[in-house]
């Protein structure tokens, strides 16, 4: 495989990872539209689900352009999903929702921030547009993290368990960046730099809430 071909494959894999994770994050958020702890948070879950599914829908046409039209590049017929494992099953409780919202959603935003000046302009355009909507998701995840951390030992234990699982998979997911993509300016940060940026974003909140750092 030539270097250019390898980059094309890595780029298609990156776009697929963004599309699939956004798609499944939206699906999992949507399951809480009628089950969240308060009416307000149920509406917020619905709004964030719409946002995430909309973001996914913007990436699948890009995947089709990169990988060629096939049932595997359409959200409706795709079977070879590349999302992180924890999104394969429904959230066990609200702490899983908050972990996905605060940690994983943020990790996707950190990666998109590394794509805002991408040499692959369709990715840069989408990254800039999506990042306009993500600050509200961050506020929701951060707010609920602080709120649940203060609700007694049982809730804290559940939150810590959820954050442990989602935090580990969020860090692992950054492997979808690669030296090749960075050297070609598709992304501006390699996996370790992304992990460092992610920790720098979430750990001050975790520290203030006296929760284990990522």
């Amino acid at each position: 495989m030539t270097e250019a071909a390898a980059t094309d494959v890595a780029l298609a894999d990156l776009v697929a990872a963004l599309a699939d994770n956004k798609c499944f994050l939206g699906r999992r958020y949507a399951e809480w539209c009628t089950a969240a702890p308060t009416l307000e948070s149920a509406v917020a879950a619905a709004a964030m689900a719409q946002d995430e599914i909309g973001h996914a829908r913007s990436f699948y046409p890009l995947l089709r352009d990169l990988a060629g039209a096939s049932p595997e590049t359409e959200a409706e017929t795709r079977t070879a999903w590349t999302n992180v494992p924890f999104l394969n099953v429904s959230f066990r409780g609200w702490t899983d929702f908050v972990a996905a919202n605060f940690l994983f959603d943020t990790s996707v935003s950190i990666l998109l921030e590394a794509a805002t000046a991408s040499s692959f302009s369709p990715l840069a355009q989408r990254a800039c547009r999506i990042l306009e909507e993500e600050p509200l998701h961050w506020l929701h995840g951060e707010g609920w993290t602080r709120r649940l951390a203060d609700k007694g030992q049982g809730v804290r234990d559940a939150l810590i368990a959820s954050f442990g699982q989602v935090g580990a998979q969020s860090l692992e997911w950054f492997a979808c960046s690669s030296t090749d993509l960075v050297s070609r300016d598709v992304l501006s940060r390699d996996p370790e730099e992304l992990r460092s940026a992610f920790r720098g974003r979430v750990n001050p909140v975790l520290d203030a809430a006296q929760l284990p750092l990522i």
């Binding site: 307000e40 509406v43 917020a44 509200l136 506020l139 929701h140 951060e142 707010g143 609920w144």
Partner: protein, 58 residues
């Protein structure tokens, strides 16, 4: 509880659009923006109800 005010045009006054229940201003902001999203507002502000001053009480 937070009182939510918004306006659609800069030349219009802020109008009361509803309330949201939240522990802190961050969550109140998320809730207000996602619940009262029927218009493209140019401004939305939130006031904590405990800070209100009663001018008339019957």
């Amino acid at each position: 509880m937070w009182e939510v005010y918004a306006r659609r045009k800069f030349e219009e006054p802020l109008a009361h659009v509803g309330t949201v229940a939240a522990d802190d201003p961050h969550l109140a902001t998320v809730y207000a923006r996602t619940i009262f999203n029927e218009f493209t507002w140019v401004e939305m502000v939130l006031y904590p109800r405990p800070s209100s001053v009663t001018a008339i009480k019957t």
